[in-house]
Symmetry: D3
Subunit: 184 residues, 6 copies
């Protein structure tokens, strides 16, 4: 019977649960994912190994100038991340500040990738402004893996528009969707 | 009685323990700390909030050209970190590769601070070489906080040698030790 | 009596006046100030200590894509600079080249702030082009103070648009004006 | 008589022709040249000394936001390059990917100039993406000469729009055409 | 007679002198000048036009690893600056902190040249540390002129050691002294 | 018979030979190769496709502080390049200026690899100084391939000294030689 627990064990039991919840770190990886690239997937796979929960946050506010609408960017991200065999990711969309999205999803950490010094200058500025607004949220950076560190979503779209082969930069399903979006 | 546990609850109990141990992330912050600066303490305080355990690793192999001997660098680091009121740090010394130190202390993450693009270029190179040697260890970067992001240990020593006031860059106990070391 | 001046002293008198006028350096700090930030105020306070006169020059030609109209950017700048208690600043607007504005206001120096290497690359290019057009006007750079060096007007506006708190980046009166402008 | 060739010499003859054709390197220097500057001419003169044939490729796809129409950008480029007294250049226009233009004109090399680290970050990214798409085409970089390394087409147009003197940045005929285009 | 001054004019007279002294800005340009290059002379000529007095400060503490002894570096600097026809420079040597040298010579400004982003990263760090030590001393930067912005004293010495022609980097008298120093 | 050549064909024949020799471009790739890495081999394989002849130049003057003596660095380079199956490379050693080595081997081009902005800043400075000394020799840059762009000889040696596995950075024969050299 349940009430047969020894009281001192119940305490240990509760402490472990409390500790487990309390220490678990949720990180949020925000982006426009327009479209998701092998570079994003590299950061996602690596961040998912570091943090207990990784919230993949697709920014709605970018949608006006984006190639793909928000729901398509989200569903492509879900499709491609499914192939990574990781089970501690969640998918959200957000419209507003990244630090607000982090707070709303109890993420104490924002994850960003760094490809080069131009990225670094912009991201360090943004991280400092975010820290000024929300001191309890930390930004951590992963430097892009060599194999994917040269891929930029904006260049992928530019190449696709000119009829170039983007199969080296995005997964097949994403490539098909991008090409379809450009035709319409 | 202990054996009164409902078997299905015992399983939950074990799963929680296993999960708690398995998911806990240990990060290693390596450096020569010659001497520890407010910049290091900023990174330490922030990293300790992100990771379950933070191993502060003082590199012994730098000691030949260092101002302070290894044991003094370690004890100053312990003294100054004690003032931060964080209780999930461990202190080690290591002699060899950072990735080996990480493996030896079950750290899946190496933490490094980034102050500027010169730092970024060097650290991204080192992170990629470490990833090639030990793919299971990730390097994460924190960009230095504005208030301490201009402090460099090497310049602190240079300033102290010329009789300059280093109290804006290192804590008092460290400042005293550095000045003493320079006199002998 | 006035005409009792010894002639040789009159000459010294005139030389001192001439020297005083001739050697006084007027510097011009151009920007769009859309809106003025703590970063701008840091550069202004520091530049005003270095140069005899500091001309704060609000660029009219940026107004098409600016959030605030020219007169509002100017009056906010005047309001905020008034709090700095410096009395060697002048306020102007200009429409055209910065070097022309400098010439029109007898400024031999253009002042610019540098926050990071991306700033440096752009500003060094602009300074060299300005030097090619107007060799008598020098550009001098101040590196941004750590406490404000991460603030960018463009990000301030982006944050305000998303409902974020910009009180850490701009003074209160400016914050109110920005929020009001975004509502209309 | 032609058929009096010693057969073994005919073979040598053919081998030399084959080798000459085979080893000759064609490089393609792509750009929008809107307008051509002294910076472009510096890279052209230097690249023409290195490679057997230099294809100057004016990108048509930039024309929508360009100041000058494609044919004018091409003819100005032809006019100014004519003054360099080099005879191994060809002029083309292209609409699409740079690597496709390179393939279409049998160019194994793409030439790009580098002025600063911002250029480097962008160009290295583009070069890696091009290499992923067309491994047989190499990108080589020339660092801009000091005398012209600060000139940017975009700033030239901005200066001209404000009535500034651009004679230090572009040749006279180009300057006249730019001014004319701005008036209409 | 001298005592015939109208008292009110005496006051004006004194105010002008006081103002002239008080507002005059003294800047200090520190370096090891081992040896002085065309790059240094460019910065000196330009800084001397901006500031009332320019103190050229040769750092003694670099002398241990320097090619030329302190007195020779100073005398070469004096010789070469004499050719610039500027009369508001002073020459000093100093042993210790740059901010102390600035204080000792009533210089409110430290001048430094910037050639590229590597320079910027180092100099911005040093400037922030100097500001922390001596808030009343400002550091201002001049970006190197294109014609001399690629010259580095260290490379000049390396080239001279290998028998290279350094006449494009340093003035003739300096070149002779460097070559002589390398022979002994 | 040989004298049966039609005279006009002899002329064509000679012109082709002359053109072939005259237009052939020899490039020199200088380095200390202490030791040769996969990064060097990447640049060598790519440069050998671009230029008619590629002179691999091992700098003798670095040998004092090098791990491996000059002859060993040269022979390792020869061994590893042999595996690339390219037949237009030559191997030399040189002691002195790179531009002198280029002149001595009739190389009109110096080849250098660029991994990041720190590399770029240094190499652009060196290229400009070389151009000032030897205007007829051009420096061209290849950006490092993603797969090898993070490898640095200095870090390879540092890793090997600490007992790390360098097989991801240098070929097997080179790895063995480095390890042997470190033991003695």
């Amino acid at each position: 019977m349940v009430d047969a627990f020894a009281p001192e064990l119940e305490l240990v039991f509760l402490l472990i649960i409390w500790h487990s919840i309390n220490m678990s770190t949720t990180a949020l990886y925000p982006g426009s994912f327009d479209p998701v690239t092998f570079g994003h997937l590299d950061i996602i796979a690596r961040a998912a190994r570091i943090f207990d929960t990784l919230v993949l946050a697709v920014g709605a506010h970018h949608s006006k100038t984006s190639l793909l609408p928000l729901d398509q960017r989200l569903s492509l991200l879900e499709t491609e991340v499914a192939t990574l065999n990781i089970n501690n990711v969640k998918f959200i969309t957000f419209d507003g500040l990244v630090v607000e999205a982090a707070r709303n999803h109890s993420a104490g950490v924002i994850v960003r990738g760094l490809r080069n010094t131009t990225d670094f200058d912009y991201e360090a500025q943004m991280a400092a402004m975010n820290a000024a607004m929300a001191g309890e949220v930390e930004t951590v950076f992963l430097s892009a893996s060599p194999k994917t560190g040269f891929i930029a979503s904006s260049l992928v779209k530019q190449i696709a528009r000119m009829g170039g082969d983007i199969s080296g930069f995005v997964p097949p399903a994403t490539a098909r969707t991008v090409l379809k979006a450009l035709k319409t």
